[in-house]
Subunit: 324 residues, 2 copies
């Protein structure tokens, strides 16, 4: 049994995860409830102890714990370097939790945890090499090589959203212009939708958003397109065009066996994947060799907990004794 801790900007989700990567018990608390770092650590410890007791286990049954953080961590010494929205900086979260749990505690980036969850029990469970990107407000990414997260020499590799797709293009939050994230995140899709609305005030897209650019979401253009609206389809095609360029870049560099796409937009399923695969066919460098499989993420909202629990190295759980 392992503990997975998914630290977010507003709340912390904790789960007990068995050796097959299934969550057997979970709970969460708001980060607002903690006045300082010491309280934050104590709240995590208290909640873990409650979960373990509720599931009928003792602390000794826990082999390891992992915490995924939406910021920078040092995965070698367990230091939480920084996170947006939470003011703790350079705190030894791994060692502090480890002392209280009496087991190893590993730290990882949240996007890496999502990739590890997909590698262990999700869409990439049958592959040794995979990449997972999460299309959200930004683009998170994780690189799995030989069933382990690759973090580079300074522990922060895998910023897959920050590869420039268009030199001097749209401003990205990272300071550069034209990043993959600026175009292929939900934020990019919303911008494309708003641009089209402004040019065509009488469109279905405008009506769906009640004429208010603030009411545009990542679903607006897809909804219009699925109703057969030409402008909706043009927006979706533009968006998927940029997504394809970014995904093809990563495939040409890594040649992963499976490329997993998660996040809200991935819920469009084949409506996203079919045109994406068509565009990729002429963009990837894979003549005369096996091709990368493109899949939608499977671990959903639990990815953070499962991936954090897997940081201990149990990338691929043992097969079930009964099902082989």
């Amino acid at each position: 049994m392992r503990i997975g801790i998914d630290i977010g900007g507003t709340n912390v989700k904790i789960g007990l995860v068995d050796d097959r990567g299934q969550i057997v018990q979970k709970d969460s608390f708001s980060t607002d409830a903690c006045e300082n770092y010491e309280q934050f650590v104590q709240e995590i410890v208290d909640q873990c102890q409650r979960l373990i007791a509720a599931a009928g286990y003792e602390m000794a049954a826990i082999r390891s714990a992992g915490a995924g953080c939406p910021g920078a961590v040092n995965d070698q010494n367990g230091t939480l370097i920084y996170m947006p929205n939470i003011e703790y900086r350079n705190v030894p979260l791994g060692p502090d939790l480890s002392r209280q749990f009496g087991c190893p505690v590993y730290l990882g980036n949240d996007a890496n945890c999502a990739a590890l969850a997909e590698s262990a029990v999700g869409a990439a469970r049958d592959a040794d090499h995979s990449i997972t990107i999460t299309l959200g407000t930004g683009i998170g990414g994780g690189i799995v090589i030989n069933n382990e997260i690759y973090t580079g020499f300074n522990h922060i590799a895998g910023e897959l959203g920050h590869i420039v797709l268009t030199v001097d293009g749209w401003q990205c939050g990272c300071g550069r212009k034209g990043c993959f994230e600026a175009y292929a995140s939900v934020t990019g899709l919303i911008r494309m939708t708003r641009e089209a609305m402004a040019e065509h005030p009488d469109s279905l897209v405008n009506r769906l958003a009640q004429g208010d650019p603030e009411k545009v979401s990542g679903k607006t253009a897809f909804k219009a397109a699925q109703s057969g609206d030409a402008m909706g389809l043009a927006i979706v095609n533009r968006y998927i065009g940029y997504l394809a360029e970014g995904v093809a870049n990563l495939i040409n560099v890594f040649q992963p066996e499976v490329f997993v796409i998660g996040g809200g937009i991935s819920k469009e399923g084949d409506y996203l994947l079919d045109p994406l695969k068509k565009l990729l066919a002429s963009r990837v460098y894979q003549a005369d060799v096996p091709r990368t499989k493109i899949k939608v993420a499977e671990t959903g909202n639990d990815a953070g907990i499962i991936g954090a629990a897997m940081l201990g190295g149990l990338s691929h759980p043992a097969p079930c004794a009964s099902c082989g």
Copy 2:
């Protein structure tokens, strides 16, 4: 002692490489001299035997051999899948050589061999994770993770020139538009130089090329810039701008400890590296963590032989007993 075989489009260079990655004897032959695949294999074997004898060794002293090829190989089973300019396809070069040598023979892509040479005895010899790109007619690249070449699930990872920098940009030889290679290769620099020449027929750049676009080389713009010519400097700055975007992309994804730049343009040295480093400072995602070192390749024309010899796994040779 190991054998390194550097197969090119027009000739094959072979070297005996000692355990410190130094070439002790080398020679070459023209691929035109071979009428078929069997002759090609025999010529390699004959030349290796001559080299070994000339160096005063016996075949039994050879621990392994490696061959680097400018095309696709399967590094698991030793199949040469294809090479431009040579018609052999899907031939078992590794096993065929191994039978005659009586030692293991490894196959690798030539750009990967160059990266391995830099990792073993060149500019990245002190790093476990490095990337080497070679700026030539195209852009070759190799990814070294934990002192080994990373080739992905289908053995062809590391096509670092084929990441799109500008969607719908300049046509690339790979079929996509806007690739890193289209802009930051020597071919890209020559195109930039010719474009500027056409716009400014009275420039120093024009005079250096005797007014003939066909006489432009990768050195023309650099020469003009180093003479203080504003147009030459503008071309060089434009070129280095694209180079910086591509290098920053790769750093953000991999976070290598050392990023090595080889090929003809790298001979410009600090004249290339200083402005490149300045541009990278605001483009890489490395706040609060150690930064990647940018270096010029050191193994030069011998990179192919040394890297091929290193394919056997001797990534980092043992330190010298006398110098430590």
